[in-house]
């Protein structure tokens, strides 16, 4: 039986990797993947707690997150394609039209 803390540490590592990638990377697709990484880090802690406390709601939550993530991926990739077509770049530092 793997102790709960192992899962939580792995989950935190995954989440932190995601945050770092989110902050440091410039490629929009990489940022997008980092967000998925964060989501999965959270998912991991959900299922870990669910199995620890024998509570089904944690696993249900994970399904919800997956559904939302799938939808988000569909919309997000569409936006990325659209950005690339209009701006010819995937570098977020050069997509700054909202700046005053």
């Amino acid at each position: 039986m793997v102790p709960l803390s192992y899962y939580l540490v792995l989950s935190a590592i995954l989440f932190s990797c995601g945050v770092l990638g989110f902050l440091l990377k410039r490629n929009i697709i990489t940022i997008f993947m980092s967000i998925e990484l964060m989501l999965n880090g959270v998912n991991l802690s959900f299922v870990a707690f669910a199995s620890q406390w024998h509570a089904l709601s944690g696993q249900i939550f994970v399904f919800f997150v997956m559904v939302v993530a799938a939808a988000e991926a569909a919309v997000g990739l569409a936006i990325i394609i659209s950005v690339y077509r209009t701006r010819d770049t995937l570098n977020v530092d050069r997509v700054d039209l909202l700046k005053l």
């Binding site: 902050l23 410039r26 977020v92 700054d96 039209l97 909202l98 700046k99």
Partner: protein, 645 residues
């Protein structure tokens, strides 16, 4: 059980006329406009006659319930109508004289471009005036009170392209505001203490008032405040200044609004509130003093005026003073009786002066008249009757009412009586002066040889009279003159005093000894004859004498002919300081200094703060991400801190 009189229809008919002419009159022919106006004012007169016909079978007072208007707790106001002898008499005067003046105006205003506008306003005035006299409570009366003020403003400023007419309208409106302020406060006091504005409930409230409240000056305060309102509307000292200027309006307006009906609203209101005044002797004394002084003061100004309408205007102020004098000595019936006869003869005199002005193509200066009696005999004849009536010659209308007032004044206070008698003398003098300067002697104008002096009043009636020369007015104008002359002749025999007695049953009206009455009547006729004789002597027998007297009096004469410089004094004491204070203090101090600074400074602060905050909005996605993460980190740290603690 009373039959339904449909009192609400009486004001509504002229309102319909005003609406029809006001909205569609521009597209109507002049005949159609006149037809609409005459139909609706005539219909109101007909309804009033119908009320008169059934009057003897009514149980009084007749109250017609109306739509509920304000309901707040136990305070309740509705558009109900009230009829007793007093309102019936006012109803007959307003609709009757009003209808006659409508007929007259058709001919008088025929050539005016604002024909439909004029009749729309005139009908609107009738509506508000009828609301005022038929109201069942002070608030509906106040609607009428303000409404006639509005109609008066519109009609004084009828020739609004003329500067003097526009400012005369404003002057009338603003001066009336001061009076209305007093009236309003009186209403508030009534609401506070009687919880009602119904005439009957206020009357019973006054009757039930505990003596410690009544003695503490409440009724005196209400009475004096009501008198302030009446002084504004009825042109009494010190608020009379607007009425002479109101002569800028067309002459039928002066006759209807500023002589016969609207300006008597104050007398009506004081009579209607006699329950309050009866219990407030101090307020009554104020009414008497104001009335007496106004009567004398305005009469003396009337001596030296040269504009025919201005003389009549000051005469109106003076006669209104008489009415208040009557109310002040608790002889309300006499005051209302004089109101009625005054409506006849002063309406007649104004319409007659309009006919003279019409005949002379717009000339209003009496120095340029004279010898007209041969050329316009009908106008002369009717105006002669009017002059005899106002002077108080037996047995015309003015004699009876004026004599009744003087009789009551005599038994109240000898000084008031003496001043009233002096006023009667002056009245007779200036009215015969007007008559003589206008109709006798030699013609001093220049009408046949080109016609000068039209510029001032080119819009007033003279407009479009290309046929020149002095001419008698058309029948449309003469018929009302003749009817009013007949009323001025016989109006004194209308038994108004005994008719009104039930309304004022609480008023003290002890019958005076009849020998004293006869003596007083003889004295007042003698005084009137003396005034007439003096006018004849000065202006016909030796026409150079007045000028010499004026020269020898010097400063006094100048003061009188300049209306005692009251307008100048008001201008110096009130208007100039008000403008200076508004400009320096309210405009430059409060508005620019305080309000503008606060507004502008708050705008500056907002914009500066925005300048700082907008740097956060870099447009750079990664900086947004960093803020997001930082925010998350802060929340996390806070929660960790909570857990550790």
């Amino acid at each position: 059980m009373n039959p339904n009189l449909y009192l609400w229809l009486i004001p509504l008919l002229p309102l319909t006329g005003a609406a029809v002419n006001g909205f569609f009159g521009r597209r109507f022919s002049k005949k159609a406009v006149a037809g609409v106006a005459l139909f609706f004012s005539g219909a109101a007169f007909f309804m009033a006659l119908r009320v008169l016909a059934t009057f003897s079978s009514l149980t009084l007072p007749y109250v017609e319930p109306g739509i509920s208007w304000i309901r707040s707790g136990d305070f309740h106001v509705s558009f109900a109508f009230y009829l007793d002898q007093l309102s019936l008499l006012m109803l007959m005067v307003v609709t009757g004289v009003g209808f006659l003046i409508h007929i007259y105006s058709v001919a008088y205003m025929w050539d005016d471009v604002g024909f439909y506008r004029f009749f729309s306003y005139l009908n609107l005035f009738m509506f508000f005036m009828l609301m005022l006299i038929l109201a069942n409570n002070y608030l509906v009366m106040f609607i009428g009170w303000e409404g006639v003020g509005l109609a008066s403003y519109l009609l004084i400023g009828f020739y609004f392209l003329k500067d003097s007419a526009a400012s005369a309208g404003k002057k009338a409106f603003i001066t009336n505001r001061i009076g209305d302020f007093g009236f309003l406060i009186a209403l508030f006091l009534m609401i506070q203490h009687f919880k009602s504005l119904d005439f009957q409930r206020v009357a019973s409230g006054v009757a039930q008032l505990p003596p410690e409240v009544a003695g503490a000056g409440l009724l005196t305060a209400i009475g004096i405040l009501l008198m302030v309102g009446a002084a504004g509307k009825s042109a009494q000292l010190p608020l009379y200044v607007w009425l002479p200027d109101a002569m800028e309006g067309p002459t039928p307006v002066s006759a209807l609004i500023h002589a016969a009906t609207m300006v008597t609203a104050g007398v009506y209101m004081v009579s209607r509130s006699h329950v309050i005044f009866d219990k407030a002797p101090t307020a009554l004394l104020v009414v008497a003093i104001v009335g007496t002084l106004t009567a004398l003061f305005a009469a003396t100004i009337g001596i030296a005026q040269t504009d025919i309408k201005k003389v009549l205007a000051y005469s109106t102020v003076s006669q209104l003073g008489y009415m208040f004098m009557a109310c002040g000595v608790a002889a309300y019936s006499a005051g209302v009786f004089h109101l009625m006869t005054h409506a006849f003869f002063k309406g007649l005199l104004f319409l007659g002066s309009g006919s003279v002005i019409h005949a002379l193509s717009g000339e209003q200066d009496m120095r340029k008249m004279g010898g007209l009696w041969r050329k316009i005999p009908w106008t002369f004849g009717t105006m002669f009757i009017g002059t005899l009536a106002i002077a108080g010659i037996y047995p015309l209308a003015g004699f009876w009412s004026k004599d009744e007032i003087l009789l009551h004044a005599y038994s109240f206070n000898k000084i008031i009586w003496a001043l009233g008698l002096l006023t009667a003398f002056i009245t007779s003098f200036y009215m015969f002066r007007l008559l003589i300067m206008t109709f006798f002697g030699d013609y001093r104008g220049s009408l046949e040889s080109g016609g000068h002096g039209h510029q001032d009043h080119s819009q007033d009636s003279g407009q479009g009279h290309g046929h020149g020369g002095i001419h008698e007015s058309p029948a449309f104008m003469l018929v009302p003159l003749v009817i009013l002359a007949a009323l001025s002749l016989g109006g004194g025999f209308i038994p108004a005093l005994s008719f009104l007695a039930p309304v004022f049953q609480t008023a003290t009206e002890e019958p005076a000894a009849s020998s004293l009455e006869h003596t007083l009547q003889f004295v007042s006729v003698l005084v009137a004859a003396l005034g007439a004789f003096l006018a004849w002597f000065l202006y016909l027998k030796s026409p150079t004498l007045p000028e010499r007297i004026a020269n020898s009096l010097g400063g006094l004469y100048r003061a009188v002919s300049n209306k005692y410089y009251v307008d100048e004094f008001y201008n110096w004491a009130l208007v100039v300081p008000l403008i200076a204070m508004s400009r320096n203090w309210l405009w430059k101090g409060v508005d620019q200094g305080l309000i503008d600074t606060v507004i502008n400074d708050s705008a500056v602060v907002t914009s500066e703060a925005g300048g700082v905050l907008r740097r956060m909005q870099s447009g750079n996605l990664r900086s947004y991400a960093a803020w997001l993460t930082a925010g998350g980190a802060v929340v996390l740290a806070y929660m960790v801190w909570l857990g550790v603690r």
